[in-house]
């Protein structure tokens, strides 16, 4: 469990990055901090591993104040994944993944063995083990970053816009992989992003931040979509633009979900997870070729 208690960060010169922030993050929960630049989301995340120390208030992990912990020891116990630029460019893929275990004193052979298993876990070709980061694609670098974050088997994983530098198709793939990994590993994840769709996809709960780290709304994606607290949240999640205001139209006997602009968002599935057939008895008809085209997801602009 991670707790923020009335945390404030003020830099010399008077800039206030975070005014007064409190939030509890349960163990095994993935929380996405989402906001524009200046919302203090990265600053807040970095308070957890003491890359930033708060000016006031306290951050605790399992009821222990992080201010009382040795920052170097603390950081080695927390996985940290950032954009691709965070890999050590002078170390091979395998050496990057073994960074933290080796710092913690794990024997090199043992660390490498585990790193190879992790490469498999995150979907990296074993042949890439001896490459340098610059020799990998953006998506591969990001997978190495995730493997490195997991290498010491930490309870907590901090992810700072980890998929921000890759193209949309690869990002979608990586988000899917992270969801799969999280179902298996059940880490406590704090995920920072400016992309609300990514936040909704990764976060069990999402905290939408205003400038200065002020919480606009915290809740599950469903709660936020169902009941945005104010215009700021509604605008942030796209509810005001109609992209999230969906309604059902009947097309060829199926229920097609359409947004406010009339763009198809997908096909409505029944409670059993199968595609709805709009009342027709023959459920197989839903698997016809038309369904795939209709299921193309429309993203809010």
């Amino acid at each position: 469990m991670i707790g923020f208690e009335n945390v404030r960060k003020e830099y010399p010169g008077g800039t206030v990055a975070v005014e007064d922030f409190s939030l509890e993050i349960a163990s095994h929960e993935a929380v996405a901090l989402v906001g524009t630049s200046g919302s203090g989301k990265t600053t807040l995340m970095r308070m957890i591993n003491r890359m930033v120390d708060p000016t006031a208030g306290r951050v605790h992990i399992d009821d222990e104040d992080v201010a009382a912990m040795d920052p170097v020891v603390l950081r080695r116990s927390i996985g940290y994944v950032m954009q691709a630029s965070g890999l050590l460019p002078h170390r091979t893929v395998l050496d990057n993944i073994t960074t933290v275990p080796v710092l913690r004193g794990t024997a090199k052979g043992e660390a490498r063995e585990r790193a190879r298993t992790l490469m498999d876990t995150v979907g990296l070709d074993p042949d890439l083990a001896d490459r340098y980061p610059a020799q990998l694609s953006g998506g591969q670098q990001q997978r190495v970053g995730v493997a490195r974050g997991l290498a010491a088997d930490p309870n907590i994983l901090l992810m700072d816009e980890p998929f921000g530098a890759v193209d949309p198709i690869v990002r979608d793939e990586l988000q899917g992989e992270l969801q799969r990994l999280q179902r298996e590993l059940r880490k406590t994840i704090v995920f920072v992003t400016h992309d609300i769709d990514e936040a909704f996809r990764i976060g069990d709960r999402v905290a939408i931040l205003r400038p200065g780290g002020r919480i606009a709304q915290v809740g599950t994606p469903q709660e936020i979509l169902a009941d945005p607290t104010d215009d700021f949240v509604a605008s942030f999640v796209g509810a005001d633009r109609g992209a999230r205001t969906l309604h059902v139209e009947h097309v060829d006997g199926r229920d097609v979900v359409v947004d406010a602009d009339g763009r198809a968002a997908g096909v409505l599935a029944g409670a059993d997870g199968r595609l709805g057939d709009g009342g027709a008895a023959d459920g197989d008809a839903a698997a016809g070729p038309g369904a795939e085209a209709l299921a193309t997801e429309e993203r809010p602009r």
Partner: protein
Amino acid sequence: MSWVLDNLDVIAGYTGAHLVQALPPILLAFVLSLPLAKLANSRGWLRTGVTTTSGLMYAIPSLPLFVLLPGLIGTGVRSPLNIVVALTLYGLALMVPTASDGFRSVSRDVLGSATAQGYAPAARFLAVELPLAGPVLLGGVRVVAVSTISLVTVGGVLGVPSLGMLFVDGVRRGIVAEIAAGVVATAALALLTDALLVMLGRLLMPWHRGREAGRP
């Protein structure tokens, strides 16, 4: 040519003396430049000051410096120590601004990420910052090495033994082969040292070579 063959032992002796005076300043300039550059980078005004001072230091002519140093540091006029001290100063003048650039060339994201992984400050410097500044540092050391090896010859004018003695003596006695031997041996020494440094760089910085070769 026959002069060279007859005097191989003299040339070898001078080459040894030359290296004894050239290698310590190269090594000292490199090692001392690292903390000085780190210090300079810690404050904006200090960096400007260091860069300016370095430029001015290099403008001091070497011969007068060799002559003045014994008075300042209390060594004998013909002591090779004068040469070592003076050339270390010249080496620093070249190396400190280069090292300062080298450390600034290291991505702050990479350093931040290394800290986040749990590198303690000293380990981060040795294992991350220093190697990543390596290519720029190597460039600086190569210039310092070649310039130092060439500057050692100036001591020959004062009678400090080095390959420089070959041209001083050759000019005085009118032996063209001796002058040529001095020039060629100095140049060869400089080129050889440079080649060794390049090889050392390839050995120590394999990732950089990979980058030069381009993506597979």
